[in-house]
Symmetry: C2
Subunit: 486 residues, 2 copies
Amino acid sequence: MKSITDVESLAKRRGFFWMSSEIYGGLSGFYEYGHVGTLVKRKLENVWRSYFLGLNDNFFEIEPADIMPEKVFIASGHLENFVDPIAKCRKCGTEHRADHILEEFLHENFEGMSAIELTEMMKKHKVRCPKCKGELSDVEVFNMTFPINLGVKGETKAYLRPETAQGVYINFLQEFDVTRKKLPLGLAIIGKTFRNEISPRQLIMRQREFTQAELQIFFDPEKIEEHPRWDEVKGYELLLKPVNEANVVKMKADEVVKKLKLPKFYVWHMVKMQQFIIDVLGLPKSRFRIRELSEDERAFYNKYHWDVELELESLGGFKEIAGVHYRTDHDLMGHQNLSKKSQEVFFDGKKLVPHVLELTIGIDRVIYSLIDIGCTEEKDRTYMKFKPCLSPFLACVFPLVNKDGMDDKAREIYDSLKHNFDVFYDDGGSIGRRYARADEIGIAFCITVDGDTLKDKTVTVRERDSKDQKRIKIAELNKYLQEKLL
Amino acid sequence: MKSITDVESLAKRRGFFWMSSEIYGGLSGFYEYGHVGTLVKRKLENVWRSYFLGLNDNFFEIEPADIMPEKVFIASGHLENFVDPIAKCRKCGTEHRADHILEEFLHENFEGMSAIELTEMMKKHKVRCPKCKGELSDVEVFNMTFPINLGVKGETKAYLRPETAQGVYINFLQEFDVTRKKLPLGLAIIGKTFRNEISPRQLIMRQREFTQAELQIFFDPEKIEEHPRWDEVKGYELLLKPVNEANVVKMKADEVVKKLKLPKFYVWHMVKMQQFIIDVLGLPKSRFRIRELSEDERAFYNKYHWDVELELESLGGFKEIAGVHYRTDHDLMGHQNLSKKSQEVFFDGKKLVPHVLELTIGIDRVIYSLIDIGCTEEKDRTYMKFKPCLSPFLACVFPLVNKDGMDDKAREIYDSLKHNFDVFYDDGGSIGRRYARADEIGIAFCITVDGDTLKDKTVTVRERDSKDQKRIKIAELNKYLQEKLL
């Protein structure tokens, strides 16, 4: 996709997403998924679930509340540290995110820099207000967590969670108790996260309300140098961008352990993350990298912090969409210290507070990437290259014309498929226009009922990417589509 | 289930749900779903989707933001009317919901009564503080919508949505445009809703954060007296409790139209709602009724307002879990008036603002009901009677003993099933204890690998409710389980 405006216009025209509450002029940082976007989002979430929970029999999904009490975020450090750097224009009054305007100005990443460093940097480069060219204030920090006051007088302080992870940590002991009482234990949340972003931007890439899919793996830190299924991945080639390398390097998992001194338990999960993005979602290796964050950039509690990035044409470079983070025992110890409730478990003959490896994905960012990368322009058409498992509708069914029994037959086929797949019935306009509509939202197969169908009980199935057309027996359609989903 | 304490204890012990943030003493009105509860919730949501979206080709799901701008709730009337009546104890200071303490005192429903009426009623019956017997203040109203301030200074006023419905209304025109441009158009949301309830209670029945599954059907009001598929339902027997009847009456859909003067379009959807609860969820007719709300009880904009209620032993009577509401053009006209954007569409040769029929279900309330009604105590066991499509795990796989190759074989069977179904592997404790654990969370089938399995390639499949055991060929397990899901 060439530009962000192209993404925005297609997304709106075809029912993927658009700015929230448009009839009231929109609400900055919030988006609505239309019916096509919602179908893609559901599929992505389900594919995520089945892949990540499938990594181990002891991985489960839970659903804690979005609103959590103040103490959770005192313990986690969010109330103290979860801040954005703000610079205000002295002329027009606009509040800017200091690191973002610096990034736009100097084309470098300034996330994680302190307010003082940012102020110095802005003075050094004489950065001024991007809106009115006015002088900017010194940088101040601003907490991004949304407070919620509960009760008639708002007497109970709570917050909308700024990450799903804390919902897992505070429920860890209870889940350890009701599952197998074994490590590793994986607990996942797919859910909403809320941040009072000062400059939400890039459509659904940086919103104030967004969906994360996160898996927190609790493990014995003494076993970090091993993984029982290491052999499956040791020869797998990772695409890495370490801090001290200028470009992406290809390295086998075994080499990564040796050369970068990363533990096997960590690298095994890096491989699984790369395989998910490349093999399951079908995104291209050529636009993929796992980038190591410098100490300045990463959260202070992360011992290892690598982010998955995709190169997105419409945003002019690599953007973070996921991460593999070794959070140590930072969170459980924080909760243990504040709550005075021991977070120790007994496992393998000893007592321990487990460490945490976090695999996190921004669901909205993946959807953006699927559209940016998937959108393919040929001279006579535009189509969205989604894998069948992510197509909003796997197939659509057309009658060639709305008469001679073709419409009834098409309905009958549609009805027989709709219990097993998301399918769409379309009888509006010419076949050419229906193909075009289906292509633009990434429907994988178009099934046309024509005059021959009534004679020989076959239909034409047209495959989106190749435009190849095949005659398939109606009786075999179900099986044909089922196989394409694998 | 005999009491609310029984539900609470089983729900916690078995991983269904428990109070939120327990390590910090809990947060009133918020619950966490554990891994078992989350599986049931996902299944319920998927069953809801496939049933309600399957009612019409022109019904779709969308996913708007949870946070919406102030104008939405000015237009909808929530900021003015979405209030709870509060009485404060002059002695201990506790704030009570006036209608709830009256209900506990007089065993009648007082929802919807005005503050003045409630004050009079409390004085007449000399109601005092349930906590300390102190004198109560006059009743005042309190708005239940949670405000959210966006931006550095909180300069933009927004709210967490107190119902999902408004997210549909403000996106109606955009979705009409990107779908078939036809009525009826159905738009559904399954998502979170937030209300600052003064007295959250009854576990997940009345929370401050909860999940609704709502379908808003936009239709031409001139066609309210008809439904193209009326014949399918006309002889179906509804279980109704009209305002002017003391008991439930059984009435065929045709009779309902004639005797109660309800329009066919409305009654058709009442039937579909009853069929969903009884046939799809498998809840018993003997505990089901659709109750007409009196004018005092119902929202002022609802012309017809019937609630689905289930009789729950642990809560001592019928409780609302769903509703069928004819909201007329109240919401679209409210948004048209405030936004000055016409909500008219052109359809069937004329311009019109559609009317709305709302089908709404409280997902958490259904889960509570499934547990209350499903929990069955026999002399030697307790089991949860969930339909296979709602069982957290459809089946579990046991090796009889963890040796002689039975464990490997059981693993192999488990691995072959886990891509198609939610299955659980259990090799802890005696077979008897494993059956007991499986029964208590409602796993439909237990598959045991024993000595004979290695010889004749069969396993024992034990059906939860009947305890019947059958030998099934391993090769046929997949098909066997698939059929049980239908």
